[in-house]
């Protein structure tokens, strides 16, 4: 279980990354943190991992007071920092094996575990190539493999799938599921709504250092009063002229995209029909948790794939 109370982090220079954050999550399963860039996700992950000191407030992870006993939480945790890659001089096999041995595995165990995750993430063909020769996505897979192979009770993964292709991403989700079944607590940050909704047991939506919403997927979606979302894309700088045709008050304009929300699904379908005749590029979709960022958060919403 993660509990935070009035958690505040102000960096030197006065940047407030977290502002009185209160969280209470289940004790196991996959807990996702979603939010636009600068929402404070990475700061929160680093505090939960025991590597960053909060300015004030209480943090508890799996029964451990993280501020008082950071080493206790670090012992039970493995952490994949955002954008982390292995050193170019090593091979994936050397990196994963060395990381596992550093954590205390014997050479034999480390070797077996490394080969297991290498097979799982289909890294066999490149396991003896230098990491500097690999693509960014593959390098990320190598780091994620090492963290997953660590078998720690708590795994903190900060945007682990941002550089992965769709197939590698699904393999990664499958690996997380199998860890979850073994009773691990997995904390993950992501920008991908599909990822968040398909793997998470508990979702925390963050915006500008605050918690906008938290709960399981069902309850979060239920808390949104809208059912459908229409997105209009246009390079036309006068994109706002279409706003009148949308017939709803809940409209957000993001660069060359308009996002509008509807409670009535039939009404949304009719509007899509009308707008399609104007030759616009339109997408209609059900509401997702990332819509909470727009509806309750701010305009720093990120366009996701």
């Amino acid at each position: 279980m993660i509990i935070t109370k009035d958690l505040v982090k102000i960096y030197r220079g006065g940047v407030k990354a977290l502002d009185r954050v209160d969280i209470r999550t289940p004790s196991e399963g996959i807990i996702s943190f979603v939010g636009s860039n600068g929402a404070g996700k990475t700061t929160l992950m680093r505090i939960l991992a025991g590597v960053l000191k909060p300015t004030s407030g209480y943090v508890e992870v799996a029964g451990v007071d993280v501020v008082r006993e950071p080493q206790k939480i670090r012992e039970r945790t493995s952490y994949m920092p955002q954008g982390s890659t292995p050193p170019g001089f090593s091979t994936p096999y050397q990196f994963i094996t060395s990381y596992l041995m550093y954590r205390g595995f014997s050479y034999k165990e480390a070797r077996e575990k490394a080969l297991e995750v290498i097979r799982l993430f289909e890294l066999e063909n490149i396991m003896m190539r230098r990491c500097s020769e690999l693509s960014y996505g593959t390098q990320q897979r190598v780091v994620a493999s090492a963290v997953i192979a660590s078998d720690a009770d708590i795994m903190i993964l900060d945007e682990p799938t941002s550089g992965l292709d769709p197939i590698a991403r699904r393999r990664f989700w499958a690996a997380l599921y199998s860890l979850k079944r073994r009773g691990k607590m997995i904390l993950i940050t992501s920008h991908n709504p599909e990822e968040i909704e398909s793997i998470s047991d508990y979702i925390i939506v963050m915006s500008r250092g605050n918690i906008v919403a938290q709960g399981d997927l069902k309850n979060l979606l239920r808390s949104i009063e809208f059912k459908r979302v229409i997105e209009i894309y246009s390079e036309d700088s006068f994109i706002n002229i279409y706003e009148e045709k949308l017939k709803t008050d809940t409209v957000y304009r993001l660069r060359n995209m308009i996002v509008s929300y509807y409670k009535d699904e039939d009404q949304a379908d009719k509007i899509v029909d009308q707008l399609s005749r104007d030759g616009l590029k339109i997408r209609i979709r059900p509401v997702s948790v990332t819509d909470l960022l727009l509806l309750r958060g701010d305009y720093l919403y990120e366009e996701t794939d």
């Binding site: 025991g50 590597v51 493995s78 955002q82 001089f89 090593s90 954590r103």
Partner: protein, 249 residues
């Protein structure tokens, strides 16, 4: 006890990972790293012949060790800022000190081929005359490594941007190994300057090696001063380093 063994093993694993694997995967690194100190030795031998070759030998040993330990700065910032895997190694069952010592050990491993070459040259040129002098050299270069590695680990926390790292490494490494009395004996400086000239740990180490191997003859005061200087600096850096290794703010 089990924990200590685990931590010592982790230090060795990280030391070998960052110190041995790069060299194993690309042996050119050994030549690249060793060439600097050896080329100084060659140059001084060609110009000064036997007169100053002994000092060039000591200078080469000290530069090999200190350049490697100061070069650690690049690795620390690279792991922290570019690769972003420092936190990955800190969030483990090992303490933060284990990470710091593992990275520091890698710099010692980096320096080993260069030290070995110098020791062989020393025996071939009859500068190293017995095992006692060899022991003194190994002991003093190890103390120098601890001192310079602690200094590097300490200053790394103040460096935020990678663009300062490599120029700084060169400035510190050459500034503390070539200008102070490392490649030349302190005795050629005016006596009034000796105490100041011996402040850099590289100069104190060089004086002790020169003195114990019988190359120079200085009063006991300067030997004790050099030992005291190395000890105080190393302890002060260890205390500063311990204080800096709390949770990052």
């Amino acid at each position: 006890m089990r924990r200590l063994i685990r931590e010592l093993r982790a230090i060795t694993v990280l030391g070998l990972f960052n110190g041995y694997i790069p060299v194993k995967n690309n042996p050119l690194w050994i030549i690249s790293f060793t060439l600097g100190p050896v080329s100084y030795l060659f140059l001084l031998y060609m110009i000064g012949r036997e007169n100053i070759v002994e000092y060039a030998f000591i200078g080469g040993l000290v530069l090999s060790m200190s350049a490697s330990a100061y070069g650690l700065l690049g690795d620390i910032i690279w792991y922290r800022n570019s690769l972003k895997i420092q936190d990955m190694f800190i969030v483990t069952p090992n303490s933060i000190y284990t990470y710091a010592l593992g990275i520091a050990l890698s710099s010692y491993i980096w320096a080993l081929p260069s030290l070995a070459i110098f020791i062989i040259i020393g025996f071939l040129m009859s500068i190293l005359r017995n095992i006692y002098v060899l022991g003194v050299i190994i002991g003093l270069t190890t103390i120098l490594w601890i001192n310079t590695a602690l200094f590097t680990l300490y200053i790394s926390r103040f460096i935020r941007s990678e663009k300062y790292v490599w120029p700084l490494v060169s400035i510190i490494s050459l500034g503390l190994s070539v200008f102070p009395p490392v490649y030349y004996p302190v005795t050629i400086l005016p006596r009034d300057m000796w105490m100041i000239a011996l402040i850099p740990p590289t100069a104190s180490s060089a004086l002790l090696i020169e003195s114990f191997s019988g190359m120079i003859d200085v009063e006991n005061f300067y030997i004790l001063y050099s030992i005291f200087n190395l000890a105080v600096q190393t302890m002060a850096l260890a205390i500063l380093h311990k204080r800096s290794l709390v949770l990052s703010e």
